[in-house]
Symmetry: C2
Subunit: 186 residues, 2 copies
């Protein structure tokens, strides 16, 4: 698996739809199904995004997700950390202290401060994270949705989300009627 | 496993000894044993470093490894790529074309150019690699060996490498004698 995994890819694609569907509040299932990605996985991703304060769920008839903050305030780095946690690129095994000449009793100087090799990796990780922190959902959306994607397609997706919302509402009302009927039957 | 693995950590620690042991030509076994790391793994790492033109093996009695270039000319990035290959941080699954509305026949615009999300990851990877490319074995050695490591310790390691070289030489001469003796016995 790559360092930045599929969960992040799905998360970002879904979040871009939340940026671009106005007041629509698609469920995680809607977002998964329209994009042809696994529904259970996307549901788990959205629980993480909600815990991290990136999206908020609204219950009720038209329940679904929306962004919890402005897209300008959500960075790609924040989304990665929410979905995968902060994963270091390097796991220093501190081999400085293992030298055979130390006879299993390494002197203090051998493990003082951060190992120089580890420090290089930390700097590289910082450079990568700084870059990811500069991109927000707003700027990413401008490049993805502004990149030759027809407005008619975006409108079609909005309509699809609306229809799913209405279907959920119908199912709920029909469920209420059937429960009420069974109560009368008793 | 972390994105940059233990193989790279071992490689860099070993290479720093090659920078700091003058004309000594330790074998990969010497380098592994003095550092308390697995010998077979380090042998494989050195085959890769040799193929990448970072180290060169000298055969003969005092056989062992030395750097194939000046330490100023070998970057940490080069060592990482030699040991692990160039691993992308992100593996784009091109989910742009999977939209349910496309009915398995995605329009051309949907997969035109690099996906905007992939582009962000490529930029982040580039920032990380640029940082790793700026550090050479020479600069890394200055920070690791200049960081409170006593010169007496470095000298002890040099002596240890010399003793191993001599032991290899003695073993070889003794092997030659014993072969020559058996030949006479025939």
């Amino acid at each position: 698996m790559a360092y930045i995994g599929t969960g992040v890819e799905y998360a970002l694609h879904c979040l871009l739809w939340l940026v671009n569907t106005d007041d629509k509040r698609p469920s995680s299932r809607d977002l998964a199904e329209i994009q042809g990605v696994p529904t259970a996985f996307v549901a788990k991703i959205f629980s993480k995004l909600e815990r991290a304060g990136i999206v908020e769920a609204s219950g009720g008839i038209r329940g679904g997700y929306s962004l919890a903050k402005e897209p300008e305030e959500i960075s790609v780095l924040e989304v990665i950390d929410a979905v995968e946690g902060h994963k270091p690129i390097f796991d220093c095994k501190e081999i400085r202290g293992r030298c055979a000449l130390f006879d299993s009793d390494p002197p203090k100087w051998s493990s003082r401060g951060v190992c120089g090799i580890h420090a290089v990796m930390l700097n590289a990780e910082k450079a990568m994270r700084n870059e990811l922190a500069t991109v927000t959902l707003a700027s990413l959306s401008a490049s993805v949705f502004g990149k030759g994607m027809p407005q008619s397609f975006v409108n079609d997706v909005k309509i699809w989300f609306s229809e799913r919302q209405m279907a959920r509402e119908d199912a709920r009302i029909s469920g209420m009627r059937s429960r009420s009927k069974s109560t009368k039957d008793i």
